[in-house]
Amino acid sequence: MRLRKLVLRELFERKSQVITGLMAILLGITVIVAIKNITFYSEKAVARELDALGANILVLPKSVTLQNYYSADMQGEEIPEEYVERLTQSNLQGVDNLSPKLSVPVEIQGHRFTLTGILPKSEFQAKAVWQTAGVFSRPEGCGTVASIPGLTPEPPKETLVRTRVIETLSSAEALVGADVAATLGVKANDTISVMGKTFTVAAVLPETGTVDDSRVFAHLHTVQEIAGKGRAVNVIEIVGCCDQISKGLASRINGLLPEAKVVTIAQVVDTQIKTNRMMSSLSMVFVAVIVLVGGASIANYMYGNVHERRREIGTLMALGAGSGLVLKMFLLKALLLGLAGGVAGYVLGTVLALLLGPKLAGIIVLPMPTLMPWAIGISVFIALVASYFPARRAAWLDPFATLQEV
């Protein structure tokens, strides 16, 4: 006979009571695990969508009102290019990419297009003070697109339309939009003359259905030079990590650049922020509910169990058991109940998430083993706290009252 055996025997003797006592805590843990699991993969899915969208934060001149995401750089107002350096030399975290742009209207072979100067990533990335901990570092859980310089192959230039960023671009190279290429009849490696400067077409960009199709992209400094604009840009497009945007990246950028206007792609990000907040609040509500209901249920069960076992407790005391042993006996029982509730709640919650994730959120959900210690921890904590007073009552029972028939 050992204490553990004594407790286990009693638990298995009263299985139905144990299950009833555990039900509230079990269901609570199940729901929390399911919500956490679905939320995690939902956030990942939205982050992937935002990454695919490209820039989700725009830095604009203060006086500008954003009318169109794709033509944010065509409003004529300017901000200093020096803002890019401020950003790259800051310790902000959660910025995946930066893309400063300067746009000027141009006429090529009698057709009106937009010449847009962009700064390839290779130029400003080298200026970032901290390559691993600074502006381009990705906090844990941030985004889904990993870019490891030197290991990740350089993407083709056509991805500019998706990522809003290009890795390299020489001063004599240009990228032309689909409409420009069709109108002018140019293809890769042809040359075009814009504002008196000749560019080699590095690539023709795929059709997007936006104003980008009518653009000619060239190196920012070349555009600044031929347009006589000096070191100025119209907009800095930022690909921010979705998770960090919801944690206030835009306001941190605004703090860094108080003279500029910082706008997020409100609809997408706001929805994500609201969803995240709702899920987070819902989780907290469930935690509160489980603590109260689960705790009350366990406490009620334990008080009942102590009452029911008074004679047994009295007998143990008559045989020489001290109050410490009785206390340990009930707390060990609570620990085992908490463990069982946590493990079962984790398993049920995971199964629920796997089943409901695709139906409710339209996403694939995978099991998250990291939630298991969390589920067990909260379950054990509730069971122990809720059982402490019943256990103490058992430990200090008057042996005489329990053995009145003697």
């Binding site: 006979m1 050992r2 204490l3 055996k5 004594l6 025997r9 009693e10 298995f12 003797e13 009263r14 004679r311 047994e312 009295g314 007998t315 143990l316 005391m317 008559a318 045989l319 020489g320 058991a321 001290g322 109050s323 410490g324 042993l325 042996p399 005489f400 053995l403 009145q404 028939e405 003697v406």
Partner: protein, 226 residues
């Protein structure tokens, strides 16, 4: 040696206070066999529990081997019980979810013995009491007489020098009663002190001394000894 000095016990549950023991003095030397008789509600159970360190007196002093029980901390009293006192209950008080052998193991577990030694000693005791083929049976799977024998084995597990029994034959048929009485006699013959509360004249007759408890006072036959 067990000793009670000017012990008074008063209960204050609902209504006026009730004094069940009134200034009682009692000495029970080692190896004695004492029966305590008296009408229901006369305080027999109270006296027995006090001797076993389970119920503190309102006034007075209770000693076992010169040690004042109620001057000890509760856990120290539990240690005294574990080492020196064996209770025999009228309703046996077996733990319902444990087997016969596991019930007998409880005092051995409380004494800190290893599991294999517990099992060995418990099995041996039950075999001596004729229950060698019932080791794994739970109390509800045993007859009343068998349950009482399991309870007796549990009482003897730690080889206590004092046996305190309350109506040990109260729930038994005549044949089993005779076995239990014989067993108490044997325990006494082995040198243990036996104090038994009983209504059964057969049990009372087997004792070396018979004490009568009435009106809060103890008397020996017609002679008051307090």
């Amino acid at each position: 040696m067990m000793k009670m000095e000017t012990v008074t016990k008063t209960y204050n549950h609902r209504g006026p206070a009730v004094t069940v023991l009134n200034n009682v003095n009692l000495e029970i030397p080692q190896g004695d066999f004492v029966s305590i008789v008296g009408p229901s509600g006369s305080g027999k159970s109270t006296l027995l529990l006090m001797l076993g360190g389970m119920l503190s007196p309102s006034r007075g002093r209770v000693e076992i081997d010169g040690e004042s029980l109620y001057d000890l901390a509760p856990d120290e009293r539990a240690t005294v019980r574990r080492k020196k006192v064996g209770f025999v209950f009228q309703t046996f008080n077996l733990v319902p979810y444990l087997s016969a052998v596991e019930n007998v193991q409880i005092p051995l577990f409380l004494a800190g013995l290893g599991e294999s030694e517990q099992q060995e000693r418990a099995s041996s005791l039950l075999s001596r009491l004729g229950l060698g083929d019932r080791l794994q049976h739970k109390p509800l799977e045993l007859s009343v007489g068998q349950q009482q024998r399991v309870a007796l084995a549990r009482t003897l597990a730690n080889d206590p020098p004092i046996i305190l029994a309350d109506e040990p034959t109260g729930s038994l048929d005549p044949e089993t009663s005779a076995q239990v009485i014989a067993f108490l006699e044997q325990m006494n013959e082995e040198g243990r002190t036996v104090v038994v509360v009983t209504h059964d004249p057969k049990v009372a007759q087997k004792a070396k001394r018979s004490l009568k408890l009435d009106g809060g006072k103890i008397s020996f036959g017609n002679r008051e000894v307090s």
